[in-house]
Symmetry: C2
Subunit: 226 residues, 2 copies
C-alpha cells in the first residue's frame, strides 16, 4: 500500500438543467460513444462501499482500466483510501452539502478524470438511501450495498432505492451470526421492488463473494463496449 498525501478534490456546482432525465440519457449516449462504462454505487453511510471497491478493483485492475469518483459532503478520506489501496485514478467530489448527484454533477466529475484513460468509472455516491435514488446520474448501471447490520427489512422502507438498482450486494455476511438478518427474506424483499435485480452476498473485509461482483462488472463492461 502506498501512502497518499493528496488527491484531486472537485467542488461540485449545483446543476442548472431542468430536465435531469434527458441530461442523464445524453450523458449515457456520450459514454457509449467513448466506450466508458459508468457504475453508480449507492448505500447507507458505513455499509462498506470503499472497502468493497478496493477489493474489487484489485481483482480487476489488470483486466480493465478503472477510475473512481468518490462523492461526499466533506473530507477526502475515501478518495485517498482508494488511491492508496489500489493505485487507480481516484478523485473526490464535494457536493457542498447536497445529498445526491445528478447527471450534470456527475459530468463535472467525469470532466476532471484523465481523458480516455478508463474503461470503467465507478461513482461512489453520497451515503444515503433516499436522495441518490431519485436522480439518474447517467450511469449505465446502478448498484447498491446493503450491509447485514442494517437489517433485511430495508427494501420495505426504501422502496425507490431498491427498485432503481440492477445489483444489490449484501455486505458483511461474516457477522450474520450476530445479527437477526434473514438472507432469503432479504432476497424476497429486493425482488418485490425489482424482480430483475441481481443479489450477491459478499464480505468485503475477507473478500468472500467479491469475485462474483467482479465477474458481474466484467460482463457488464464487455456488453456495453460491444
Amino acid at each position: 500500500m502506498t501512502k497518499i498525501e493528496e488527491v484531486k478534490v472537485i467542488e461540485i456546482k449545483k446543476s442548472i438543467f431542468a430536465d435531469n432525465n434527458k441530461d442523464a440519457d445524453a450523458l449515457r449516449g456520450e459514454l457509449k460513444d467513448r466506450g466508458v462504462f459508468l457504475l453508480n454505487l449507492m448505500s447507507s453511510p458505513g455499509s462498506g462501499k470503499t472497502t468493497t471497491l478496493i477489493r474489487t478493483i484489485n481483482l480487476l485492475k489488470d483486466r480493465l482500466r478503472i477510475a473512481v469518483m468518490e462523492a461526499d459532503i466533506d473530507s477526502d478520506v475515501d478518495a485517498v483510501k482508494i488511491k492508496e489501496g489500489t493505485g487507480v485514478e481516484s478523485i473526490q467530489l464535494h457536493t457542498g452539502g447536497m445529498c445526491h448527484l445528478d447527471a450534470e454533477m456527475t459530468r463535472q466529475g467525469l470532466d476532471n478524470l484523465a481523458p480516455g484513460a478508463a474503461d470503467l468509472v465507478i461513482l461512489e455516491n453520497v451515503g444515503n438511501l433516499v436522495c441518490p435514488a431519485e436522480f439518474d446520474t447517467g450511469a449505465v448501471k446502478n448498484a447498491m450495498i446493503l450491509s447485514v447490520p442494517e437489517g433485511h427489512d430495508k427494501p420495505l422502507k426504501y422502496p425507490l432505492m431498491f427498485s432503481v438498482c440492477d445489483l444489490v450486494l449484501i455486505n458483511k455476511i461474516d457477522v450474520m451470526p450476530y445479527f437477526d438478518f434473514d438472507l432469503d427474506k432479504c432476497r424476497e424483499y429486493v425482488h418485490m421492488r425489482n424482480p430483475k435485480a441481481s443479489v450477491i452476498p459478499i464480505c468485503a473485509r475477507t473478500g468472500e463473494g467479491v469475485e462474483a461482483f467482479a465477474q458481474w462488472l466484467l460482463q457488464e463492461v464487455e456488453h456495453w463496449k460491444n
Copy 2:
C-alpha cells in the same frame, strides 16, 4: 407484546413556509407553553432507532407520558413496532419521498397526536445522515444514533449531523469485537464537531446503557418543563 394491526398514517404535505428557522423557533415556543418536550432522533437506516426507542420507552413510560411519530418514506412497520412493543401512542408520518422533515411537517405530525396526552414526544426522523441535519424540526433537542458497524469515522464524513446533535448514542456495542471500531476515536471526532455533545454507548438489543439514555431524557424533560 400486543399484536397491532393498524396505526394512524399521516401523509405529510410539503411546507409552504419560506423561513424554516423562524417557524422552528415558533414551534419550540408553542411546545414550551404546552409543556411538551420534543426530541428529534436521527440516524442512518438500520442503526437501531426503533429498537432503542422501544427499550427506552419501556423504562420511562411509568414516569412520563410518551408519544412517538415515526417518519418514513413508505411503510408503517416502525409505528406498528413501537405500538406493539410499548403500548404508547405511535403514528406514522409518510414524507412522500422527501428525505427530511422541517418544522411545518413536524407540526402536521404533532397536530395528529391526541391533544395534551404527552409530556415527551419523540420524532424518529427519516433514516439519513445528510438532509435531516439541515432542517430544524422545532425539536427541543436533537439526538442521533451511530451504530458500531457504520464505523467511527462518520463524524468526519457527515459533519453537520454531528454538529447539530446534543446527544450521540453509540449503538450495537455488543458487536464491537467483530468490527474495527475505536470508541475513543469516535468520541474525539464527535467532540471535534460539537464539544458539548453527550456520548452514550448502548446496546439496544441487550439493553446495556439504555438506562443512561433514559436518565438523560428524564433530566431534559424536567428541565424543559420548569
